[in-house]
């Protein structure tokens, strides 16, 4: 199979910018890259979920168009998606044979045959699952196996495995790899997508590295290939070092504590978080998607409750019931879903800025002081250089960067001591990014304490004084600015290596 110059554009994002890709029979090619690098988009194009804007696809030398999933199936492409694609209320057989049903005489389903076939596939995968069970009654691992069985059913020539190992423990992964190797030896071409570099090096015949919608290199695993080499290729050499402004404040003894967490836990999200935040610092939180950071932040503001441990704000033990409680205690959160949670898109700029501070913008009649509101909104629009024609502009008409600044302005106006920022620069262009960084650092210099979470490690390296690495809801490491590990490669290493431990724990 061969793909040539594939382009794909989504509203607002260019997901693939001219990707070439080839896969030979009996080979395993892995795709690696940071989130949003284009791996899943490429696999979805091969599976017929998306069609490319530009480019050509050849399978066994013939040019093909893969218009829908059914067409991909007929061309011999099987895929296990990253997201669950099982119907919970249907049985295992029904799911495996969804849209591939076997019938007698074309109308009546051949239930017996389908049952045998699915048992055969599962047996081949080395699992015994009651195929008459409903999928919702299965364990996480069993579900993943069914997903794979579903893709394997038609004996595809090309099999795409998108993050299949996430819920599996080490033994199960080994078992799966054995099967994959068998398939490979039978001549199947396999595309493997994953985050666990160790696994990838172990299984792949070659590794394609993606960055920003392009493939930037191909590595051939060998004894000498280290995870570090892969990571540095994933990140590229163009590290943006121009804005290193953090400082090391190790001297914790004399500093004023503003927030202290003692063994904070929330079942299913995070566990035993011990952490102290001091006045005038920025602490970064690094981890993979689903590591529990967002939920931790939400708990700190009172959006989510926690069910174990204690939380102290300026030495006082607190437990918030509503977000309002968090705000009153001086904690504000800039969410990672600014359109969904952070902004009222159909309101104008000034109302969005003022929405959390309405109680402080009252006049002596206890009604809203609209002049004060306008003045304040104007002040922040200017201070944060928010580009808007006027403070009466509807927020939905502004660019992502400017919307993000408004969310931040909302909390600045409230003059809170602790600001939690979840993905401060998501979907924001480079220039606006720098402005937002400056803004956050400025707040720190004004004596505020900030907690910043971001999937972009570079971002954290730029502005944070120290970085906590969270995995499966636990703090696994803390890296100070003056430590030698305060480097992207090292932090990514910690994240990726500790990932394995997490899934093992989870599967039990």
């Amino acid at each position: 199979m061969y793909l040539k110059n594939i382009h794909k554009q989504f509203p607002g994002v260019k997901a693939l910018k001219g990707v070439d890709f080839s896969l030979e029979k009996g080979k395993i090619v892995s795709l690696v890259g940071t989130n949003g690098a284009g791996k899943s988009t490429l696999s979805n194009i091969i599976a017929g979920i998306y069609s490319p804007d530009e480019g050509e696809i050849f399978i066994e030398g013939k040019k093909v168009t893969i218009s829908d999933p059914k067409a991909a199936e007929q061309l011999g492409v099987g895929i296990v998606h990253q997201e669950p694609t099982l119907v919970p209320n249907m049985t295992v057989v029904e799911n495996i044979f969804l849209n591939k049903e076997i019938t007698k005489n074309g109308i009546v389903l051949d239930l017996k045959k389908m049952k045998q076939e699915s048992e055969k596939v599962l047996e081949f995968l080395g699992f015994h699952i009651n195929v008459g069970k409903k999928v919702e009654e299965l364990t996480l691992v069993e579900k993943e196996v069914v997903e794979i069985a579903k893709a394997m059913l038609l004996k595809p020539k090309i099999l795409i495995l998108d993050e299949v190992t996430a819920p599996l423990n080490k033994d199960e992964v080994d078992h799966l790899f054995k099967i994959i190797n068998d398939l490979k030896n039978n001549g199947m071409g396999i595309i493997f997508i994953g985050h666990k570099l160790q696994e990838i090096i172990e299984i792949s015949d070659s590794i394609m590295v993606f960055r920003d919608g392009k493939n930037v290199g191909e590595l051939v695993p060998s004894e000498s290939l280290s995870e570090k080499e892969v990571i540095s290729l994933m990140l590229g050499s163009t590290l943006n070092e121009d804005l290193i402004t953090g400082e090391d404040k190790d001297d914790t003894g004399q500093r004023q504590e503003v927030l202290k967490l003692a063994g904070l836990s929330k079942q299913g999200f995070y566990e035993d978080i011990n952490f102290t935040l001091y006045k005038g610092e920025i602490v970064g939180f690094a981890g993979l998607k689903g590591s529990g950071i967002t939920e931790l932040f939400q708990s700190l503001q009172g959006i989510l409750s926690f069910d174990g441990g204690d939380m102290y704000v300026k030495g006082k033990k607190v437990k918030f019931k509503y977000p309002k409680d968090g705000i009153e205690a001086g904690i504000g959160m800039v969410t990672n879903d600014r359109q969904g949670e952070g902004l009222a898109l159909t309101l104008d700029v000034k109302d969005n800025i003022a929405v959390s501070s309405l109680n402080y913008l009252r006049n002596r009649f206890r009604t809203l002081n609209t002049k004060l509101l306008k003045d304040n909104a104007g002040k922040y629009v200017k201070a944060l250089s928010i580009k808007t024609p006027s403070i009466n502009q509807f927020v939905q008409n502004l660019s992502g960067g400017n919307q993000q600044k408004i969310v931040i302005a909302k909390w600045l106006l409230r003059n809170l001591d602790i600001i939690l920022v979840d993905e401060p620069t998501r979907g924001v262009d480079v220039k606006a990014k720098n402005e937002i960084y400056k803004l956050l650092i400025n707040e720190k210099n004004n004596g505020k304490s900030l907690m910043v979470a971001s999937p972009e490690i570079r971002e954290l390296l730029s502005i944070c004084d120290r970085i906590l690495i969270i995995n499966s809801g636990r703090i696994v490491s803390e890296v100070h600015r003056n430590a030698k590990e305060f480097k992207e490669e090292d932090i990514l290493n910690i994240i990726h290596s500790s990932h394995q431990h997490y899934t093992t724990a989870q599967a039990m």
Binding site: A47, G48, I49, D68, P69, K70, A71, E73, I79, H81, E83, P84, T85, L86, V87, P88, N89, M90, E94, F97, L98, N99, K100, E101, T103, I107, V108, L109, L111, E137
Partner: protein, 339 residues
Amino acid sequence: MASDTSSINGGYRVSAKLIKDNMLIIILLLELIIGVILSPVFLGKTNIQSILINTAIFGLLAVGQSLVMLVKEIDLSVGAMMAFGPIAAIALTEKILSGSGTEIIVGGNYVVDGLLLIVILVLLISALIGILNGIIRVKAQVPSLIVTLGMMYVLSGMSYILSGGYSLYLTNLEGAKSLGNNMIAGIPVNFILFLVIGVLVILVLKYTKVGHRIYSTGGNEKAAIYSGINTNFWKIMAFGISGVCAGAAALIYSSRLQSVETIQGSGYELISIAIAVIGGITLEGGRGNIFGAIIASAILCIMLNILSLVGLIAWYKTIIIGLIIIGAASQHAFSRRTA
């Protein structure tokens, strides 16, 4: 986890599960027992026949509604369709046959001819409106709650315009009363028709691809799309079938009362949803089965019958229905969580 506890008190578990899985049947049996105790005429022939006719009308609507709910949609237009279908069909028949000189409506509002054409048109028009509901739903991406709510108003308005608000009498239309009143071996023909349709739907859902399409469309639309299923098509189909069911229910209704009224069937959309919910179909789609809906329609009709036999005032009736709906929905949700 689950296997540990079940081995400890397995016997209790099994019987509890048996009750849970057959809750609807148990309720039905209990109702029958209560009915026999409370009223000596409950098991009388005419009373049972009356229950069966009502079950046929509500059951047909509920079967259609259930299909729509299985694909995670809802159809509020079925009640209005029950009036519009016959009214439009009669108007259209009059127009079609007026060319051949056959008079369809005499004396202002007595329908006297064209029964076969009317019956076909009722089913056809209802199916088309259902399909239209579906097309608007999937193409314009308007939630079905809104589409069918709008359709409900459009249809009842059009029913008024077409009929001028007058009722139509079918008393002088030969054969018109047979569907609503004839019996085969003491069983109403319409109930037999309903059973045939119901069993057909159950079999099709269970033993053909259609069932997989419908359940996956409602259960996890993305998964269905990834498997190459045209979920939009199946949604439109579900609305179409719901339309046909409403048309069939309208035929039974009009035949039983030998008339067509602009207000007939109003409010029945909610009853059909209530029955589907009692039968275990959820608003989240892809869950529940048609058998449950059929049993639930019998449960509701028997309960209404018992309440009217013992002479309970309507206020209490509505409270009881409401409690049953809430109770059934929570019971289904509960048994799912603890499954």
